[in-house]
Point group: C2
Chain length 285, copies 2
């Protein structure tokens, strides 16, 4: 690819993992890291996640810019970044919401330099040390409003995604935000509130935590996620997340009422119908 | 150990995995399998999970009996098993509820032959092919009413658990059922209803499932579990599970209301407080 340098804004789990993949596939590319936390930059340098520290003022020199910061920060800084970059620079975000960021630059003179993406990959960890090689391999990358990005820059991005081993899906920002609320955001609320329920009840009974098995660990895993990353996601996708929560609460309430009524035939049937999830998960795990 | 044979009633995930551990550690022990499904017995023989097929009538010859069937079946058949076994036979269950089974044999003349246990280990799979060696290593085994079991039989059981690498905790059946509702049963309802919510919404949009990432897969994993195993657990632990569900629903509703009120400071704080789950999970995963 014709990219000589990449500027990663936010050298955490996602930004750092992209940096590692790119460096692994083309060691001659220079990777510049920009981060609000000086400690993150130091750590990223030490771990060889980035080659150099940089600041937003240096962005005019960038061939390729990746925004991997909390989604509210992306929306705030993207217009200014587009102001600074050259006509040939590709600017990409990797956020979990797409409507607000597309809206933020819809009339920007450099809209064609921006590609809205959501690589669906991650772990519950954060910061430069969470960055891992191959995080995106075999994962899905949702691209929104592809037609608004310059064709040559689309090509450049696709070449990189292909090397990273990602599958591409195209979707409009509204559909993305609606469906991702079900497929990702709801899981996070569900895990956080499961964790809260158990902690509130059992906090003073340390021995009880010995009873936690791998099933609990799996279900509550996402409650380790970063609140700084997730609060702005819930804020930007408020209407959709509230809708999923209402349906989830309604299903839980129905389950509880059926238990109260000793209607264990319905309980059995609901679980059996939901075993269909096996088919959905085939190939993800 | 002075055990020459073991009769495993229910040659699925739990019974089969115990059989594999025992055989691995002492190949001279004969393992007899009893199962309501002839197909399970055939499969267990083929996979070398058991050495011989048997029926409940053969149980008089047993040195050691392990009940690993749905909890309603255990409660129903345990008294009859105790009627048949010799004075030196150890009978153990491995169910996820402990109150009903202890109650079922509290006045049985052979109560001293029974040990109520709950080895907290498992996967979302079931049947003989789900049996794996080493499933219990490093896991917790809850023993209830240990004082009601003959001392020599306690010793025999503990020797086996030690060889399997399990940590032992003693608890009364009521406390077990109350706490396990939080640490295990609630996770299962939470995962099943998360799966149902997503399936109900997205069933006709197959492409959407490409959006499922590892976070969703982890949170919903337990929705693959066997309804035949879980319906009787929810039935036996009805009061406790309903209590956990009420608290969980209340926490989810509070989260939703805070989102509606644009109170994202509270949303942030609730998630940050729940990050404490990291400490709880340390050493489990």
């Amino acid at each position: 690819m014709s990219v000589k340098n990449i500027y990663i804004i936010g050298v955490g789990l996602i930004g750092g993992s992209i940096a590692k993949d790119v460096k692994n596939l083309n060691p001659s590319i220079s990777i510049f890291g920009i981060d609000a936390k000086e400690s993150h930059l130091k750590e990223a340098l030490k771990l060889n996640v980035i080659d150099f520290k940089a600041t937003l003022k240096d962005i005019a020199h960038a061939d390729f810019v990746i925004l991997a910061v909390p989604v509210d920060v992306s929306v705030r800084i993207l217009p200014g970044i587009l102001d600074l970059v050259s006509d040939d620079t590709l600017v990409m975000d990797a956020g979990s919401t797409k409507k607000d960021i597309c809206k933020a630059v819809e009339n920007h003179p450099k809209r064609r330099n921006f590609l809205a993406t959501h690589p669906i990959a991650g772990t519950e960890f954060s910061g430069p040390k969470a960055a891992v090689l191959g995080l995106f391999k075999g994962k899905t990358n949702i691209i929104c409003e592809v037609e608004k990005t310059a064709f040559k820059l689309q090509e450049k991005a696709l070449a990189i995604f292909q090397i990273m081993g990602m599958r591409i899906r195209y979707m409009n920002p509204e559909a993305h935000d609606k469906h991702i609320a079900y497929m990702s955001h709801l899981s996070h609320v569900s895990a956080f509130m499961l964790g809260k329920t158990v902690i509130d009840k059992e906090k003073n009974e340390r021995d009880i935590f010995d009873m936690a098995g791998s099933g609990f660990a799996s279900t509550v895993r996402l409650a380790k996620s970063s609140p700084a990353m997730w609060t702005p996601i819930f804020k930007q996708n408020k209407e959709n997340v509230i809708e999923t929560l209402e349906e989830y609460i309604s299903n839980l309430t129905h389950f509880k009422e059926r238990m109260k009524a000793d209607d264990f035939e319905t309980i059995f049937n609901e679980m059996e119908n939901t075993n269909y999830i096996k088919e959905i998960l085939n190939g993800i795990e």
